[in-house]
Structures are given as C-alpha cells and as structure tokens.
C-alpha cells in the first residue's frame, strides 16, 4: 500500500491544482461578483494547505480574513459601483 507520506503529499499536490484553476477562473471572469467567489474558493484551498504544512496559527488568521473580511469589503465596494467589467483590450 502507499505510505502515509505519499498520501499527504498527493493531497497537497491536488490542492495546488485546485487553487491554480480557481485563480485562472477569477482573473478571466467579467462578472465581478463571480470573481470574488472564485477568489474565496482559492482562499479555502490555501487554508487547507496551511493546515497540512503544520501551521495552525496561520489557519486561524487566514480563515476569517481571506474568506470572511476580504469578500465582504469588496462586495460592499461592488454594490456601490459597477458590477460588470467594461470592454477589455
């Protein structure tokens, strides 16, 4: 059977690929509310990665800040201005 070490490294690699997909979808999206949601998915993948790298202090900072406060502040800003990005180059 595979050892525990290979299993943990495989989960780390999978989380890296999930965060790469989420960052690419966030950058090439015209609707800004969906871009903020993809960025929150990437932050959740990073929080799980911090846990696997044995840093529990950073998980406790990162989950309220990047999944709770950044989307809240940016959604307030989107509500007060435009929701769709204009025509890009």
């Amino acid at each position: 059977m595979i050892s525990q070490e290979t299993l943990i490294y495989a989960v780390m690699g999978l989380l890296g690929i999930i965060s790469l997909v989420a960052v690419y979808m966030a950058i090439t999206e015209k609707d800004l509310v969906k871009a903020v949601l993809y960025s929150a998915i990437q932050s959740t993948a990073y929080a799980f990665l911090f846990y696997l790298l044995m840093a529990p202090d950073i998980v406790l900072v990162y989950v309220p800040v990047a999944v709770g406060l950044y989307p809240a502040v940016i959604l307030f800003l989107i509500k007060k201005s435009e929701r769709f990005e204009g025509e890009s180059t």
Binding site: V21, T28, P64, F76
Partner: protein, 277 residues
C-alpha cells in the same frame, strides 16, 4: 467562442506545471524535498520556549509562535499594530463627516431581513463572540492569540449591520464614537504593558528593559509566570487581551464607514457645497 478558449489555455497552464514538476523530480535541480533538520535559530527558539532549566532565556509559554511574536520579536508586532492603526485613521480621514443619523421610527421590526434570518443571527452572534474570546485569551497555551481572536470577533458586528439594518446598529450604541473609545483603550493597554516591567523596575530601584517578560541576567525583575498554579506567561496574556479589543473595534469602524447609503452620502457632499456659496 470564448468558452473553449479559456478551457484550452487553462489546460495548457496545468500541462506546463506538471511537466516542470516531472523534470525536477527526475534529477533536474539538486534536491527539492524538504530538509531533514531545522536551522540553528529555530533549534534555539524551540529549545528555550518552555524550559525551566534555562531560566534566563525562557518565556514560560508552550506555544513557540506566540512567544516569538510578543516576546522574542516584540518590536515587529509593535510596528505592525502601528501600520494597521494608520490605515484605519487614513480611512476615517477620507470619510470625514459622513455618518448615519438615527431615525425615529416606530416600526423598527419591519426593516432588515425576514424573521427567520433574524432569529438565526441572534443565536450565531452570541456563539461567534464566545469562540473569538476563547481563541484570544488562550493564545499563550494553544494556537491563537490577539489578532486571530479580533478578526473572528469582527464578523459579529458585520452580521448585525447586514441583517438588522445599520440604523438599528447605530441606535444600539455600536456607533463610530464608542468604537473609537474601545480602540483607544486597547492601544493604550498595549503600550502600557510594554512599559510595565520598566515601571515596576524603576519603583523597586532595579534596572529593566522595555518589552521585557521574564527576569534576565542584568535585569532581575519580571512579571509572574503563573498565577495560582495555572500558566499565564507574564505579559503575553495582557498583550493578547488588549490586541483583541483593538482589532475588533477597528474592523467595526471600517464596516460602519462602508455601510452608509449612497443617497445620504451625495446629500452630505452636495449640502456642504451649497453652504459655502
């Protein structure tokens, strides 16, 4: 047309990444696996964090990261708190004069969201505040600390502003002036705790340093490491409590400034112009 172009470029980025990793794994770059030992500086921090046999270097706290943040490198945290304070003050100066006035409203139970959401929010706000206080006050024993507890406790006023309306929040004394008072108490507490051992040393006629926690070789005075048998690690518990107050109040000010309705903002900005002419 745009859909499959995005998918093709995403797959090509993933293919490049996997190819680079394969190239490194079959002997491209020396060694990439993590090293089997820690560096000398890390060995020193891990060895002296809770060690009664070296009483002149220890911090008496089993949590190595909090002892680095508030004791070994306390000045870094002092300047980080200053940067955060300057960001909040800058935002308040940009939005000077823009505030929500409490309306006299008889039917306040009809503004905000539906009763189901309001009932669930009442229960969750109490739970969030309890968990955040526990994270902040146990920062010297388990992972946690002042900033973690403050960021988690800032979610509760955000929920109150969004679910019940901002007029209800201002009416129940969560306004800018009270939050600024709490934030000032927190920052004054952090500053006084940094000078506490120095003041106690001057009173007893013994030399001491700023940001000192336990007795050192040339300054044999410090705060007690445990209180009635349970470990409190000197200044760490006071730092965590005051930082929790300061951070939670700071975020509440940011949300109060951001949630003023745009119609009211335009009224204030145009009303000021008309007064001048």
């Amino acid at each position: 047309m745009k859909g499959w172009m995005r998918a093709v470029s995403l797959l090509s980025i993933i293919a490049v990444t996997v190819a680079l990793a394969l190239g490194t794994a079959s002997g491209g770059l020396g060694y990439v696996l993590p090293f089997p030992g820690v560096r000398d500086l890390a060995y020193w921090f891990l060895f002296t964090a809770l060690n009664p046999s070296t009483p002149l270097f220890t911090v008496m706290s089993p949590e190595a990261v909090t002892s680095i943040v508030w004791d070994y490198r306390g000045l870094d945290t002092l300047f980080e708190t200053t940067v955060f304070f300057l960001a909040i003050i800058g935002s308040m100066a940009l939005m000077r004069g823009i505030e929500v006035v409490k309306k006299v409203e008889e039917r306040t139970y009809q503004i905000g969201m539906s009763p189901i959401v309001k009932t669930v929010t009442r229960i969750s706000v109490a739970a969030i505040l309890a968990v955040a206080a526990s994270i902040a006050l146990h920062g010297h024993l388990t992972p946690g600390g002042g900033f973690q507890g403050g960021a988690a406790a800032a979610v509760a006023p955000l929920l109150l502003i969004v679910v019940f309306s901002v007029y209800f929040a201002v009416g129940s004394h969560i306004n800018k002036k009270n939050m600024l008072t709490i934030r000032t108490i927190g920052l004054l507490g952090v500053g006084l705790t940094a000078f506490a051992v120095l003041i106690i040393g001057v009173i007893h006629g013994v030399g001491a340093y700023v940001f000192q926690n336990q007795p050192k070789a040339t300054a044999p005075i410090g705060l007690p490491a445990d209180l009635f048998g349970s470990l409190t690690s000197g200044t760490l518990i006071l730092f965590n409590f005051f930082e929790f107050l300061a951070v939670a109040a700071g975020f509440t000010i940011v949300f109060l400034l951001l949630s003023v309705p745009e119609r009211r903002v335009m009224e204030i900005l145009e009303g000021g112009e008309k007064d001048e002419h």
